[in-house]
Assembly symmetry: C2
């Protein structure tokens, strides 16, 4: 089965990027115990002052979809939502390399 | 010092994506011994049939820049160049998370 990956761009409401990044970093800690999640890295955009990129790799698209129903995920989404202006995603199929 | 990251999109010439992906996967193997490189994952775009995305995390922007002068990197670039139509990069600053 193919792995599932995505670059997910969160655009924060003005002045809220740091708070949103902290919530996403906490979510990344909670997800360490989820073995189907292989990568969940929080990045600041180097070009857009309100943007955060999350690099995700999951064991399968199904595992990613199932993660959205985890209580920790739902709680993080509820906290993050008021700080978010928009979300875009670039879906990818990870083949291999260093870090997988 | 901040880490340096990038999502690098390679658009292959028509019909050359698989060959280009193989070259990049070989480059990823060669880079396993470079400790300043923390992540180098090769992905196929799920939306664009000629596109490959490479997820990179380096210990610093300087380490990334220095890597371009490594003999293995130069050899991979020389092999890949004839197969590449275009390159775009989204630079990011990795903060943390699972996989770092």
């Amino acid at each position: 089965m193919s792995k599932y990956g995505a670059y997910v761009k969160f655009t924060a409401k003005s002045g809220e990027r740091e708070t949103l990044a902290d919530i996403l970093l906490e979510a990344a800690e909670a997800i360490r115990s989820v073995k189907e999640c292989e990568v969940y890295i929080i990045n600041l955009s180097a070009q857009e002052p309100d943007a955060i990129w999350v690099t995700e790799v999951w064991s399968s698209a199904e595992a990613h979809k199932a993660s959205l129903d985890l209580p920790d995920t739902k709680a993080a989404i509820a906290r993050a939502m008021p700080l978010i202006e928009g979300v875009e995603s670039i879906p990818v199929t990870p083949l291999g390399g260093k870090g997988l």
